[in-house]
Symmetry: C3
Subunit: 306 residues, 3 copies
């Protein structure tokens, strides 16, 4: 039999002026170059196999990162992936939908941690001082292992993922997450749940979201709700109302207002507004947001895809 | 003149359940994604030049590794390579032939160390405490340098390699190895020798192996003998009898019995049996083995090539 | 609109015997494999966007380096780049023109430091001992950020670059550099200036150079002058006279004589001679040079492009 094997490199580059009120240097340059290297093979039975390693540079890093890999098998709408997998909670279709600007940020996003595909590698090297006075370099997060299962049919997608922070030892708090997405005419619905988020015992999060697209347009409004109020997290509940509107050809304005009830907030209300201008293969975008710490952040720049 | 230059990315992905009797978590997931990036040019005279860097992720690593490179020149069957070279001993045609399963392992393999192409990079960063109390990060194996020469003609291949553990200092124990492979009708013969294996003074190893393929089939039997009994190694002598048999279309069963006379063994006999099912571009495989420590290990999974 | 996106990998490999009088092991093997991964997109308006990450292995490194990235936008001869940019001073057309041999070296080059595209990443990890006795791994150069602007028209190119050693803090000594190149018939002219070179306060350098190509040939002579005599540098002034001569088809001999007036020199005069033989897609080259320390260095090897 003949198999069709292929390797592709795709991704995006972006650079922006990133303003953050209240930090030492308020205006800095943000740069990112992402290259996903995907290797795939189709077997004689029509089963697809593949794997991904990501090369990515972000400003503030001394070198480009070379991510851990994941591997996957796809057949008949079912995909099983192993390794540095995309997680269900992070893959919920609408969970990042309120983001604005070039850097794609929103205070309506989840405030706490959960696992996702790791671009920069698991954890950091640390120096450990042993009792005998010797020192050594260790990384205690190298043995992370994830598994994800996704099933797609018609306008629906359901996914479950499981990440063991260290598969060589027992007693870890493995993260488990679920998500479901459904699109029906003008309505998109999305929900997700994660337990032991990012390997933290008892960190439970819930997400539900909906988006309505006005018929015959790309304009729409959405509403997201994220509960991260467990004792292990204490990030409160976040609700965000957002919308997108094509004000002119190729030009879209997006905005959101978010409310989060975390105790440590200066204010419980945050908002943002952004605009995007399509260049065809690239776009210009900018945004201005005000956060729960009452500080403003803003960005303006260009992004291209390849 | 015009030169033909090309860059290709090829390799494989695999994932398996890896069972190992007696370790903390006996069942773990094994994943590997290997991408060899090969750059080549043919000169006007028909001389081929090339170089390789390997990207590889293995479970248990925090990020994908980006190997040191080797460079090579090939003309008229003769290849000279420099840098992170493949070594002669590691390249002996039959030395890994008794391996079974998805992860490709055998207790009939050499038990001790010798140099090979380094995927994960030379050595590890270490922290050195200086006499004055300062600490710094060092890697004392960065200056490794290898050279290999291979000549191929008809069914024969001979190869010699030389690896200096640190080319910037004298007094190292440079590894030197030789191998020869020969195929004649149904018979394949392979032999190899290495001195100062892995840069260890006096570590001498010998290998001879033979494989017989039954006419008109892919079934065969082989016998390997590896002597690692020098005082510098003390890994004993290993003899392994192995065979492969196509039990059904696309399905091959392989098995081996190995004997090693090392003092530290619980038992001197090990064995393994595995099966492989060809999917075309990918295969399913599994194995079960029992080692010199009387523990069982087993694997089961899928591998694809690209 | 449709955009044309592309990813290419190009670069070169080289290996040489590198002789250096007076070091522990005088003859060592030099190897380099450089792979530039360039991702590009053209927008509907004819604006080009791109980014580069470089993979490179050099002997003496434990693994291949994965450089920080730069991103660029080009339109109508004007290129703006951000990130790990090429700097103006390093890009002056003739500044490295006196180099000879396979490894491309010259004592007529600048003697001190200035920023350039960083292949091996910004700085090195270091271990910091805190007052409380704990130790941690830090890299204080991760936040470097560069911007460069280049304009090309007809035979002229002008460029300016700016590199902030740490964009997250104030008070750094940002490097600023300028260059201009101009070609007019047989004459090429090049000039450059840098201030706070490599982030060192007050390190100013000046460069001017000219090259004359004899009509109808590839033979030529050049003269470069580099002033690195500021108190922050104290590398003196360097003047180098050099030339190239095609002694036979495909064979070019190059030579230089350089004078540098730095106090620490054993001698103020250095010279070098090299030869190159074109193989078409690859070349053989060698050189012998004598430096300001009165030691001889020499190389001989092969390089290929892809």
């Amino acid at each position: 039999g003949i198999a069709a094997a292929d390797v592709t490199i795709s991704g995006y580059g972006r650079t922006a002026i990133d303003y953050q009120e209240g930090r030492d240097q308020e205006s800095q340059l943000e740069t990112r170059l992402r290259m996903n290297i995907d290797a795939t093979t189709s077997s004689d039975q029509g089963v697809d196999f593949g794997g991904r390693i990501r090369l990515q540079y972000d400003d503030g890093e001394g070198s480009s990162n070379v991510s851990p890999a994941y591997l996957y098998v796809t057949a008949g709408g079912l995909t099983v992936s192993v390794g540095n997998v995309n997680t269900a909670f992070d893959s919920a279709g609408l969970i990042y939908e309120s983001e604005v600007g070039l850097i794609s940020r929103s205070f309506g996003n989840a405030q706490g941690d959960f696992y996702a595909f790791s671009t920069s590698g698991y954890g950091n090297d640390e120096v450990r001082m042993n009792a005998d006075g010797t020192v050594e370099i260790v990384n205690e997060t190298d043995n992370r292992m994830g598994v994800a299962v996704e099933y797609e049919i018609a306008g629906a997608s359901v996914m479950a993922s499981y990440v063991d922070p260290d598969q060589t030892t027992g007693g870890d708090d493995e993260e488990f997450s679920l998500k479901a997405d459904y699109t029906w005419n003008q309505i998109a619905l999305s929900g997700a749940y994660v337990n032991n988020a990012a390997g933290v015992d008892g960190a439970e999060k819930y997400f539900v979201g909906a988006y309505y697209t006005m018929p015959g347009t790309e304009n729409g409004v959405g509403l997201n709700y994220i509960d991260e109020d467990s004792d292990a997290d204490n990030q409160g509940k976040t609700i965000v109302l957002y919308g997108d509107y094509a004000v002119a050809p190729l030009t879209t304005v997006s905005a959101y207002i978010a409310n989060n009830d975390r105790d440590s907030n200066e204010t419980d209300n945050a908002f943002g507004i952004g605009a995007k201008y399509d260049l065809g293969g690239a776009y210009l975008a900018g945004s201005i947001e005000r956060g729960y710490d009452e500080n403003v952040r803003a960005d303006m720049g260009v992004r291209f895809n390849f």
